[in-house]
């Protein structure tokens, strides 16, 4: 498993034509959340952080995204089992993990990618990060799935 993860980390990110617009959206998202230490888009399978923005205190973004990739997969399987449905049909809206240092929110978006928001713990209002994920998901989904249509709102950071 470890070897697979390391291999995944050296695979170059796929070409995303809307790269700048994706970074701009992530930066905007981070700026709206005062306790945000990292926001990233990662590949579901490997946990590879394709796009990430940090406040400078996160030295290893892959540690967060790889972990949340495993947690998300486990959560989907668990909910499938709990609700007696096939895995992946449980329509998980988000998974949140809280440690004494960080609170991480992960949500599947598009093209086998997930959006991850890492905040410094404790988070006073759990509703706020969820609202942020709700609001930014459609734009990021569009930028990843149909990159050619989203260049009009491209902003450089």
């Amino acid at each position: 498993m470890k070897a697979e993860t390391e291999k995944a980390l050296i695979v170059p990110a796929m070409g995303y034509p809307a790269r700048d617009a994706i970074y701009a959206s992530l930066a905007e998202m981070a700026s709206e959340s005062p306790r945000c230490v990292m926001v990233c888009l990662y590949e579901d399978e490997s946990g590879y952080p394709v796009f990430h923005i940090t406040d400078g205190t996160i030295l290893n973004p892959a540690a967060f995204s790889c972990f949340m990739s495993s947690v998300h997969r486990a959560a989907e399987e668990t909910m499938g089992e709990r609700l007696a449905r096939p895995s992946g049909v449980s329509q998980i809206r988000f998974v949140m993990v809280e440690t004494e240092r960080f609170t991480m929110f992960s949500r599947r978006i598009a093209n086998r990618s997930s959006l991850l928001l890492v905040l410094r713990s404790p988070v006073e209002c759990l509703g706020m990060p969820i609202e942020l994920l709700d609001r930014y998901e459609p734009r990021l989904r569009e930028l990843i799935a149909e990159p050619g249509t989203a260049h009009s709102d491209l902003t450089h950071i």
């Binding site: 470890k2 290893n60 540690a63 967060f64 790889c66 972990f67 495993s70 947690v71 486990a74 959560a75 668990t78 909910m79 089992e81 709990r82 609700l83 007696a84 449980s90 329509q91 998980i92 809206r93 988000f94 998974v95 949140m96 993990v97 809280e98 440690t99 004494e100 240092r101 960080f102 713990s121 759990l126 509703g127 969820i130």
Partner: protein, 126 residues
């Protein structure tokens, strides 16, 4: 541990919080359900507990090698699915509590319920 006290607390909490479907406490070391209450008439309590115990175990394996970066322990996991929201809280190295509710609106209520259950367990152990 005073199980009668724990049972009373769990029943009381569920009565106070009508959005909650289930509240369970289990022994993490032995994957053993200690006490629980649930409105789910299809799934037996032990199945519900076993399902989340397995999740906790997978989560801790994933966390183990990243402990120094992410923080030494996982305090709480919340899963919001289309049907229900689940809060899984590690109470100690030995115990964990699970709360389930319908929908996302009662996320705060759910977390509050599980936190109170954690305190109830601490008191029951004294």
């Amino acid at each position: 541990m005073k199980f009668s006290e724990l049972r009373r607390k769990v029943n009381g909490l569920r009565a106070e919080m009508p959005g909650l479907i289930s509240l369970l406490v289990f022994d993490r070391e032995r994957n053993l359900l200690l006490y629980g209450e649930s409105d789910d008439i299809v799934s037996p309590l032990r199945e519900i507990s076993a399902c989340y115990a397995k999740l906790l175990s997978r989560l801790e394996s994933a966390h183990a090698c990243r402990r120094t970066t992410l923080g030494k322990s996982v305090n709480c996991v919340t899963i919001a699915s289309g049907r229900m929201t689940v809060s899984l809280r590690a109470l100690s190295a030995k115990h964990a509590a699970i709360g389930e509710c319908i929908g996302l609106k009662c996320l705060a209520l759910l977390n509050h319920g599980v936190s109170r259950l954690a305190r109830a367990l601490e008191e029951a152990e004294k």
